[in-house]
Every structure is written in structure tokens, then in C-alpha cells.
Amino acid sequence: MTGEQSKRVRALELIAAKIRRNVLDICMQRGGYAGQGVALADIAACLYFDEMRSDDKGWFHDRFVLSNGHDAIMTYGALAEHGSYSLEELRSYNEDGTKIDQSPIEGQLGFEITAGSLGQGPSQAAGIAWGERHQGSDKRVYCLFSDGELQEGNVWEAAMFAGHQKLSNMVYIIDNNDMQATGSTTDVLGVEPVPEKFEAFGCAARRVNGNDIPEILDAFAEAKHIKDKPYVMVCDTRLFAGIDCLQEALPTAHYVAAHSADWQAGLSEINTTLAALAD
């Protein structure tokens, strides 16, 4: 790794740590999907602060489609760092009457679609990618969805369509955390081998360590060189990856309540990480 690349990775690691801190800060108020937000912080740092291009209005030129609504916490954590939301307003997450939905509705800043009915993001992203290409735009479309969503048939209809239409301006990012609402994805209904399945549908696919920033950046770079195929990053992650004490204490916590005794230990650890990275 060159000095420049090392600096770039270091900067993204710092942003990822800040996103993790934001996720804890938001979720500890009234509970939330903290494990997912923490685990996705490295992908979010790379996506929002390196991969997606900015427009001239302080927003993004490229388009991000969140499919699994509960991963909205990742976007909130990242957009707080981006300056699009204040932490103060995000702390109303999960509060009655808030505009900061746990699973947002189309039109909320940062959310292109209504994301709560699982399995519907990949096809909408494919429609957006088809439309952008159709009008000669160079915009790239990124869609995040989860391994649990792979159990929805609509996802595979989307993959078949995207492969057939050769949507090389689209990247699917799969949060492959082997966890869904009622247990391990492996136990509920196994979805592996995921990359091979997408390849069979006409996509280029690669397994990525979803918590390794150089590997994530390398995959995003590779995606741009793939011709005539959508690109699928099967990102292996685990809940709370990046905050060891929470990963150990809450390895299967799909949702963490506000009264959890673990928040302070998690905050303490991420603050230590932040201090080390800031040096």
C-alpha cells in the first residue's frame, strides 16, 4: 500500500469509527438496530466518503438505494458525519412523532425508496440504473440489502433482469451477516453460496470482508472495470463488528433496547478507538 493509499484508508477508518459512535449515540436513546449500523460502518465510510461522487449542491451525484429498512441506522450514522442531519435530530430516532423513522419512507433525505417491505430494493435500483443509462447519465447506482432478503423471490427476479440488461452501472452490496429476524440465516433458510448464485444470474460477484476497508475499496474499484454486468459485493459482516465488547455481549441482537446495560461499555471502547485513530 502506498503512502497515499494508507492515508486514504486511515481517513476512512476514522470516519467509520465516528459512524459507529453516531450509531450508538442514536440507538441508546430509545433502542434500535445498533448491531447492523455498527457492522456496516466500514462499508458506509467507503460508500459515502470515497466511492459516491458529490454533486454541486452538497449532495451525491451517484444514487444509493437502501432496501432493508432497519439498516437505515447506517445511513443516519453516515449522514450525521456528512452534515446532512444533526445528531440532535437523529436522537429522536424511535421516538413517537419523529421524522427519523427506523425504517424510512421514500422522500426522506438519504432514502430513495420506502424500504421496509423486504426484497423490493434490488429491482427498484435496477429500474433506476436502467433509467439512468437510458438517458445517457453516468450516474452509478448502489443498493444495499441483506442476506435474509435473498429469501425473497423478488430479489432474484431483479438479479435476472439486471444481468439480462447488463446493468454495469449498478452495484449490489449485500450485508451478509448470517443473521435475520429469528435467528441465523444458515439455520432459518440457507442462502449460500451467494456469489455463485448471482454469477449464475449474469452478474459479476465477489465475496468481500465487509469490515476491511482496503478490500471494500478494491471491490468498488473492480466494479468500475466490469463490462456488461452488474457487480455484486457479498460483504461478510457480523453484528457489532468493530466494537469488540458489544460483539461479544450481543452477538445475535437483531435489535437492542434502550435499557441495555452494554451501551456505556460500547461507547467507551469506540471513544478509545477514535482517540487512537485521531492521533
Binding site: T114, S123, A126, G127, I128, W130, A158, F161
Partner: protein
């Protein structure tokens, strides 16, 4: 506003879609392997950039179309009404119905206008879609109205659901003298005694019955209600409360469709006329030709005329 003679169009949507796409380059006609059967041939052949087929996958048809809308186009997703609504209801509601982007779905062969019984028939589509907030639901009576309603739909926000006409569909309304307006009802016969309220294809059936009743000297009125949502409550109330008896006629299950809608509107006012709902009487409709199915369900002209006359006895 009615033509002196009924004109039969062999493939109405072929010309309607081609004409629209020729005028509106932002419109994308979409199919799910049924373009031939919805008569979407000319756009596919002559304006291929404005046609997108997603294969036999209706959930994908609707959700990809929602994405196409979010890219700045006006998608018109076409398939049979049964598949659009039953197979992809959640996608219609969530992907199209919760946002502001114009997203049009045309459901062809609605109600009993399909010979394959149960699975190809859609007797509940109007009820399903009108239950989604902020949507537009239109059931045009003929080809003239279908064309005009689609022209209006492409400039409406959010999810717009239209029932489509295909095949040997009569053209009854004179396009020189009729203009579709969203929410506007249309009085086709003015009279007293019994007020008939109809929508969509069933307005043609009601007109057939009306001709019989007129010959018999039976006084009645006929109101066509093409816009199911947003419903024009005041015009329906005004019509219904001007009659002692109301009969609704629809190509739909009498549960949740036009009959239910008129009943809801009248009940909101209270002390209204008695309402008799005619349509598919909450049973599985038989298959076969439309004439056969109508006969079996007592929706043919003679049976309808008899039932309308009978409400006064």
C-alpha cells in the same frame, strides 16, 4: 356524447400506446411477457427505446417500473389485472404508492373479461387498489375514455391504476363531444324512479339494459362513474338522493367495488335510497366467452333490465 353507432376497434391499445409514446418521449411502456396479449405491438416494434419487458415476473414489473419512475420517466406497466393487483399488490402499494413519482399500472382483462376462470379474472382489483391512500383508480367504459384517461394519468402524481380494454372493444363515446375529467361523473340517461350507477365495461352492459328499459317505457337514469378514486362524492350523492332506488352495475365483485363505494358515500349522508348491487355476486365466476359468463351471472342485458325493473316491485 355517445356515437350513433358502436365502432369496434380490433387492437385499441396498440394505437393508444403508440400515439402516447410518440407525443411523450418520457413514457416507457413496460410488459411482463404479455405485450402481445395486451396489444402492445407497435411501440415495441417502432419505438423500441420506449418499451421494456421484464419477463414473466409481475412483482419485478411493478418494482422495476417504480425505479424507472425514480429515474425521471413515466412508466406504464401493463399486464393482466389479476397479476398486477394480486401478484404484485405489495409492490404497487409500497414501491409506487408511497412516493410522488407518476407510476401507471394498466390492468387488462379485468373482472370477467377473460375466458380463463378464477386465476385470469380479477374481480377484486378496484377494491384492492382503492384501499391504498392517495392513489388514482380509473375504470374507463370504452376505448375513447381509456385513451383520454391515460392521457390524464401521465401527469398525475403517484400510483395510477387503470383498467384496460383490448380486443373487439366497442367505442361508444364520441371523442369530439366527450372529454374525460378526473373525478367527473357522466350522466348517460336522465330520468326518475330508478337510478343506475355503473363503471367501466359494465357501463356498456348498463347501456344495453337501459335501451331495453327505454323501449319498455320504464323511467330510469344512468350515471357513469369512471373515476373510482378520488371519488366525486357530491355528484354521486346528488344523483342517488334524486331517486327512490339505486342499482349499481359493475364488472367486479359486489364486495369492495363500485356498489360498496356508492353505499359508503350514501351512508355518509344517511337516510338514502335503497341500493341494489349487481356485479359478480361474491362467487367464483365461470369461464368462457364474456357473453356466456354474463348470462351465467345474470349480467346479460335482459337479466339486468329485469333486475333493474324488479327493484320497484
Amino acid at each position: 356524447m355517445l356515437l350513433a353507432e358502436r365502432i369496434i376497434d380490433g387492437a385499441p391499445f396498440d394505437e393508444i400506446s403508440f400515439d402516447l409514446c410518440s407525443r411523450r418521449p418520457d413514457v416507457i411502456m413496460m410488459s411482463a411477457d404479455l405485450s402481445k396479449y395486451t396489444q402492445l405491438n407497435r411501440v415495441k416494434k417502432e419505438l423500441p427505446d420506449q418499451h421494456l419487458d421484464v419477463g414473466m415476473a409481475e412483482q419485478n414489473l411493478i418494482s422495476v417500473a417504480a425505479g424507472v419512475a425514480k429515474a425521471g420517466y413515466v412508466p406504464v406497466a401493463t399486464t393482466f389485472a389479476c397479476y398486477a393487483t394480486r401478484r404484485a399488490y405489495d409492490q404497487m402499494m409500497i414501491c409506487m404508492g408511497t412516493g410522488p413519482k407518476t407510476s401507471i399500472v394498466i390492468g387488462f382483462t379485468p373482472g370477467i373479461a377473460n375466458p380463463a376462470r378464477i386465476h385470469h379474472q380479477a374481480a377484486e382489483d378496484l377494491g384492492m387498489i382503492r384501499a391504498i391512500p392517495n392513489t388514482t383508480v380509473i375504470d374507463p367504459m370504452d376505448v375513447t375514455e381509456f385513451k383520454q384517461a391515460l392521457d390524464v394519468a401521465v401527469d398525475l402524481p403517484g400510483l395510477v391504476y387503470l383498467r384496460g380494454h383490448r380486443g373487439d372493444t366497442p367505442r361508444l363515446l364520441d371523442p369530439e363531444r366527450y372529454t374525460f375529467e378526473l373525478g367527473k361523473t357522466c350522466t348517460l340517461r336522465e330520468g326518475a324512479n330508478v337510478g343506475v350507477v355503473a363503471t367501466g365495461h359494465a357501463t356498456q352492459w348498463a347501456l344495453e339494459a337501459s335501451e331495453i328499459l327505454q323501449k319498455d317505457g320504464f323511467d330510469h337514469s344512468l350515471l357513469h362513474v369512471p373515476t373510482i378514486k378520488p371519488v366525486n362524492e357530491s355528484e354521486i350523492v346528488e344523483f342517488c338522493f334524486a331517486h327512490d332506488q339505486i342499482v349499481t352495475v359493475e364488472n367486479h365483485n359486489i364486495v369492495t367495488g363500485l356498489g360498496s363505494l356508492v353505499t359508503e358515500v350514501v351512508a355518509n349522508v344517511g337516510r338514502g335510497p335503497r341500493i341494489t348491487r349487481l356485479g359478480i355476486p361474491d362467487v367464483w365466476a365461470p369461464g368462457g366467452t364474456l357473453a356466456h359468463i354474463r348470462k351465467e351471472l345474470a349480467l346479460d342485458a335482459d337479466a339486468l333490465a329485469s333486475k333493474i325493473r324488479g327493484v320497484c316491485q
